[in-house]
Symmetry: C2
Subunit: 390 residues, 2 copies
C-alpha cells in the first residue's frame, strides 16, 4: 500500500487556477506533497503547493519534464499537452484522468461523436473544419438558424460558445474547427458530478441546477439539490452514470445536461475535473469534490456525496466597465448574512466577466438559501482600480 500522507509521494497538478487552488486545500489537509505547473507567475496555486513551476501547459517537453517529477499526474484544465501525458503513461506514470479520457473530451467534436457512438442522448450536431465550411452549410440550408456554435477546442467559461441567429454573426466567430448544434429549448440546465477510482468504484453527487447569466454565458447560480421532480433527477443521475461508465475515467467527471420541455435529458458537455457546478460541495457535502478527486486518483475509498444542507453557489465575476486591481465591494455586508461564505480566487486583476471567486450560501431550507443568494448577488460587486468602457 502506497503511503500518501506526510510522505514523498507527489501529486503533479497541471494548471494553477482556482480549481487547483481549491484542490490544494485538500492536499494540505491530507499533507500530500504537490507540484503545480502553470504559465502565469501570478497563478492562484503559486502558494500552498510544495513546488510551483512556471511553464506552458501545451508544450510537450515542459509537461513531460514536469510529469516525471510526480508520482501521479492530474490536471485542473483540459488545455494541456495530451501527447506528453501519453508519453508519461508509456513510461509507467499514473495519469488520472488518463490521456485516453482527455482525448475523448478535449475536442468538442470528438466529445459529441463519443456521445453518439455510446448511445448517450445529446442534441443533434454537425462538424465543420472552418468558418467557410460553416457558411457554405448555412447557404445550402444544411443548418437551420438559429443554432449553437461551439469551437472544437479552447472553449472555457463561455468562450468558444455562441448562439448564431443570423449569417452575419458567423463573421464574429473565431476561425477553426467547430460544431453547429441544434438549439434545444430547455426548462433547466442540470449537472451531475461522478467520481470514479482506478478500482472501478464510483459515486454520484446529487443533481444540481444551473442558472446562466444571459449575456456572459457563465453560470450565475448553482442550486443543490436541483428543484426538479424526483423522476427527472433520477433520469439525469442515471444518464450521468452511463456517461461515466462509457469514459471509464479516473477522477471526477462533471456531466452538464439539458432538461428539455418534454423532460428528456440531453447531455451538453462533460469536464474531467472538479467543476464550477460542484463548488457548493465545499460547504454542503460530506465529501467535497476536491477531496473526492484526490480520493479517486489515489485509489482511496470514495467519500459520501450527500449534502449536509441545501446549497446555492453564486459566481463572482468581474463587473463590466472595470479592470485593474480587484475590489470586492460590499463583501463585508454579504458576510453578515446567514450561511454565507465567500471564496476569493486570488486573481489580482479583474476584467469584465472574469471569474474572480464564488460565494456559497448554505441553509437547511433551500428556498431560504436561494433568497439569500439573490441578495448576495445584488449586493456584492467586483470592480477594479481602473474604469474602462463597457
Amino acid at each position: 500500500m502506497t503511503r500518501y500522507f506526510s510522505s514523498d509521494f507527489t501529486v503533479g497538478i497541471l494548471g494553477g487556477g482556482q480549481l487547483g487552488k481549491m484542490l490544494l486545500y485538500d492536499t494540505r489537509k491530507f499533507d500530500i506533497r504537490t507540484i503545480v505547473l502553470d504559465p502565469s507567475p501570478e497563478a492562484p496555486c503559486r502558494i500552498a503547493c510544495d513546488h510551483f513551476f512556471q511553464g506552458d501547459l501545451m508544450d510537450f517537453n515542459t509537461v513531460l519534464e514536469f510529469g516525471r517529477k510526480a508520482d501521479v499526474v492530474t490536471f485542473e484544465i483540459e488545455g494541456v499537452n495530451v501527447e506528453a501525458l501519453e508519453q508519461l503513461e508509456k513510461e509507467g506514470k499514473k495519469v488520472y484522468p488518463s490521456s485516453a479520457t482527455l482525448k475523448k473530451i478535449q475536442d468538442k467534436s470528438v466529445q459529441k461523436s463519443f456521445f453518439e457512438s455510446h448511445g448517450i442522448p445529446t442534441a443533434p450536431f454537425k462538424k465543420y473544419q472552418s468558418k467557410k465550411a460553416l457558411l457554405d452549410a448555412i447557404e445550402k440550408g444544411e443548418i437551420q438558424l438559429p443554432f449553437v456554435w461551439k469551437s472544437a477546442t479552447g472553449g472555457y467559461d463561455g468562450r468558444g460558445v455562441a448562439v448564431v441567429r443570423s449569417k452575419e454573426t458567423v463573421n464574429e466567430l473565431s476561425e477553426g474547427t467547430c460544431i453547429a448544434e441544434e438549439l434545444i429549448p430547455f426548462k433547466n440546465e442540470l449537472a451531475v458530478i461522478v467520481a470514479r477510482n482506478p478500482s472501478g468504484d464510483y459515486k454520484t453527487y446529487p443533481v444540481v441546477e444551473m442558472e446562466f447569466h444571459p449575456e456572459a454565458n457563465q453560470v450565475e447560480y448553482v442550486i443543490c439539490p436541483a428543484r426538479v421532480e424526483a423522476s427527472v433527477a433520477e433520469k439525469a443521475r442515471k444518464i450521468a452514470e452511463k456517461v461515466s461508465e462509457a469514459y471509464q475515467h479516473v477522477g471526477l467527471l462533471a456531466v452538464e445536461m439539458f432538461q428539455t420541455k418534454d423532460d428528456e435529458i440531453l447531455v451538453n458537455e462533460v469536464a474531467p475535473r472538479p467543476h464550477n457546478s460542484g463548488h457548493y460541495s465545499i460547504e454542503a457535502a460530506y465529501t467535497n469534490q476536491f477531496e473526492q478527486h484526490l480520493r479517486a486518483i489515489l485509489d482511496l475509498p470514495l467519500g459520501n456525496t450527500e449534502s449536509k444542507a441545501g446549497g446555492v453557489m453564486v459566481n463572482l465575476v468581474g463587473a463590466e466597465g472595470y479592470t485593474g486591481n480587484v475590489i470586492y465591494e460590499q463583501i463585508s455586508e454579504i458576510m453578515e448574512m446567514k450561511g454565507v461564505t465567500p471564496h476569493i480566487y486570488g486573481k489580482k486583476v479583474t476584467r469584465p466577466f472574469r471569474k474572480m471567486g464564488h460565494v456559497t450560501i448554505i441553509n437547511e431550507d433551500l428556498g431560504e438559501a436561494r433568497k439569500i443568494a439573490e441578495k448576495v448577488k445584488n449586493l456584492i460587486k467586483v470592480t477594479g482600480s481602473e474604469k474602462i468602457n463597457p
Copy 2:
C-alpha cells in the same frame, strides 16, 4: 473600509503549528496575505503562507521585527513574547488578541486569579513559587492530597499538568511557579468557544463534550453537541459568555469547563485562539472556528456558529513505542467509513502522544457518529519508522 481580500493587507501569525496551518486554509479561501513566524523550519505552516520566517517566538526583537511587517498580528500559541506585542501596540499595530488579554492567560496562576476576581466559578487553588514551597505546604497540611498540580507557564497538550496523589510524586514535577488546585470529581469536561470582534459583537459555539485519554491527559473525543441536559448546556454557555466579557478579547476564546457531580459548572482554563475542541467545526459548523477567528480579528461580521450535522473529533496522537517518519496505518480503511475526514498536520516525525492529526466524523445522527468514531479510534494507528521502548 480596509480591503483585506486580494490586497497587500497582511495578517502576521505567531506560531506555525497545526492551528496556524488550518487558519491558513481560510486566509487562502479569502486570499488574505499572510506571514508566519515559527522556530522550526519544518513547521506545518511552512507552505500556504505568503512568507515564512524562522525565529524564536519568545525573543523580543524577533517578534517585534516580524510584527512590524504585518497589519494585524495574531497568534496560534500562547508562548510568545508578550512585551514585543505590547511594543507593537504602542507603535499603533493591531494585535488580536491583545497583549493585555494574553497577559491575563499566559500564566495559569494569573488566569486563575482573574477568574476569582471576576466572579467566574473555578476550583479553589493556591499558588506556590517553587517545588520547595509546594512541599512545605503539603507538610503543613495547607494542601490536601490528592490535588491537581499545574505549572504556571509552559503547559500545553497535557504537559505541565499532573494529579499529585503522594508527596513523592512532587519530585517528578518540573521546577518553577505552580498552582495546586483542588481535585474536583466531575461528570463531564465541556468546552465553549466564544468569538468576539473589535466592535464588541460576539457569538458562541455550541457546548462540546471532551473525553480525555486517561494516561496522556490529551483529548480523545470531542463531541458536538455535548450530550448533557439543555439546562447544563445553557449554564455552560452563559458562563463562557461571562468569561468572554470579562476578558474583552478580540478573536476566539476557548473556555474549558467541568460539570461537577452536582451539575455546577467550574471553569478549568481558557485559550485565546482556535482550539482542539473546535476542530469538529471545519466539517460540522456553518462557519468553522478558523474562519471565525479571521472574521473576528478583521472586524468582519461574525458567522453562524450553528452545526449542519452532529460531529465527533478524534485526535490522532503518536502511538507509544514509535518514533521516526510517521506512518498512518489503516488510514484508507477509516476513509471508507461514512462521514470520515482525516486531517494530517504535516509533522514528519512521530513521538508517543504527539498530536499528529485528527479525524472528524460527521453524521446527522450524533450517536451514529460516536459509534463510527470509536471504530476509527480502534483501527487507525500512528506509528513510525523506528521502534523505541515504551
